[in-house]
Amino acid sequence: MSAWSDHLLVLPIVLPIAASGIMLLLDERRSGLKAAISLATATALLVTALALAWRMTDTPEVYRLGNWAAPYGIVLVADRLSAMMLMLTGVLGLAALVFAVARWDRAGPRFHALFLLLLMGVNGAFLTGDLFNLFVFFEVMLAASYGLVLHGSGEARIRAGLAYIAVNLIASLFFLVGVSLVYGTMGTLNMADLARRLSETGGGAGLFEAGCAVLGIAFLIKCSAWPLGFWLPPTYAAASPPAAAVLAILSKVGVYVVVRLSLLLFGAGASEGFGQGWLFAAGLATIAYGTLGILGARDLMRAAAYAVMISSGTVLAALGTGNRAALSGALFYLVGSTLAAGALFLLGEILQRGRDPAAASLAVFADEYRDPFDDEGATETGRAIPAAVAIVGGAFLFCALMLAGLPPLAGFVGKLAMFSGLAAGAMPPAAWAFILVLTLSSLGTLMPLVRLGTLGFWVPHDDSDPVIGPLEFAALAGLLGACLVLTLWGGAGLAYTDRTVAGLSNAAGYIGAVLGSGTP
């Protein structure tokens, strides 16, 4: 614990909260300085995540806060899954921030402070090694997201925000009940210690499983599994686009926790496979619901929100099959589809700029609705890039192919890996059902996106063509570039997710790394 690089693990949490604190000291008018600090922090976070992933070995890295030994002290644990999710957060966060700096960060107060707090909560949830700190990081992340959903104000956002906050407060209460039940029955909240006690006692009591089920409900609400996820599409569609893009990672935190805890606690032993059937059913239902929703979506923001649901459902269902190769493919698909959904939120804003149907319906509230960019000219976006239509159209096509999982992009690689994993062994009916639902959802995603694309690009409009500023172009290019990297180095990516799943299934390795070889 002396070398500088040993403390790399705590940087994803300390950096954003420190920068967020500095934001509060700065006057709201110094937006340039704030944007610079934010961008520097987000870049540093991405570099940290890349460095962590680069040096990751088969043994999870453990960081003891205050050097107290687990299970008494608080630990941060990073394994391949954490590193992967940190990288995803880094890319999405930086891109959304660059997009926001173009103009959205001035649509309301304290955007940068909230944004960095959100990143801190998400990173913390990916790194923490015990359940109660997971709760705390969840709350930090949610509290910041409440502010971001309301960013830019307006009636639609306040309405959606009210429902969003109520649902998530209830989910947090479920979380607390689950955590306390687990503590009451097992006497520990450290994840590794829980797994160890579970294997030593040879299975959990009924009350412990009940506690885990309550916890599971809380996480499934967060990852918007059907029928607990009706809050997601209206909220994400109403949120300001850069906020929506970074919120796409929020539902993936729920998915991450479900994957982590299922494989750690219920991978082997007496409670093996606990809740797997439910996860599979919920996952399939989520994909089906998301597909129906995207078929009925009338604007890109809503379509992107349903795409977020589909990608969460895919991972849940893959986890429910208990097939490791399928789970590995699903994790690969999760990364690509989250990036593409984030890009779609940004594209939706560019396309709807100037012909916003929500603004038209708000006309009756003209006295109360204030355009957040009232006092700035339209020229504020900077010099427009020529051939914007071609760029936006190409980016849209790219996103549609990624989300639908069509060749030649990474979405297809992920789906193909899932199919080949499912088809490797004997095929139970569940595997056939999964393949059928996934294939139908590809078709169901492609059709409405083609329709929306046709309406957006080919149908002549009275108003001018979409305008795209250099910063916004950079944000889009970053997200799509990351997708492209994922496609070109798909083999390396799949090998990484394969090793991730192998590491997740090796509960003994995780326990040994956190608790040390001896007994506490």
Partner: protein
């Protein structure tokens, strides 16, 4: 004592759920706080019920004679978080009341179409 505590948690939770399902935003806010009380008491109960036992272990004391300090620490954290978020919810509630002119959870009175709010309906009923 167990009966009293479990009855208390039950009454809080039942009232909270009932209020949560009511159509007015302020009732939802109250329901959320009542549910939070129920959950906080429940966390306490998970550390086992003890009367007059300090949560501090001194050298020589039997571990059975002390109260479990962990749930108490958990409750403290959960209390602060739920309190803060309820306050935030109240602010959003007021904003929704101001913008939509209705304190219904849907932002409109039943039977009223979306976006049909006339200026007269946005005045509070006097």
């Amino acid at each position: 004592m167990e009966i009293v505590l479990s009855l208390g948690i039950g009454v809080f939770a039942a009232s909270g759920v009932w209020l949560l399902l009511r159509p007015r935003t302020f009732q939802v806010a109250l329901g959320l706080s009542l549910l939070a009380y129920a959950v906080n008491l429940f966390i306490f109960a998970m550390g086992r019920l003890k009367v007059g036992a300090p949560p501090v272990l001194e050298s020589g004391t039997d571990a059975a004679g002390i109260a479990d300090p962990v749930p108490q620490a958990l409750v403290l954290t959960a209390l602060v978080i739920s309190f803060a978020l309820t306050a935030l919810f109240l602010v959003v509630l007021l904003a929704a009341r101001g913008v939509t002119g209705s304190d219904h959870v849907d932002g409109q009175e039943p039977g009223q179409e979306t976006g049909q709010g006339k200026p007269s309906q946005r005045e509070p009923g006097r």
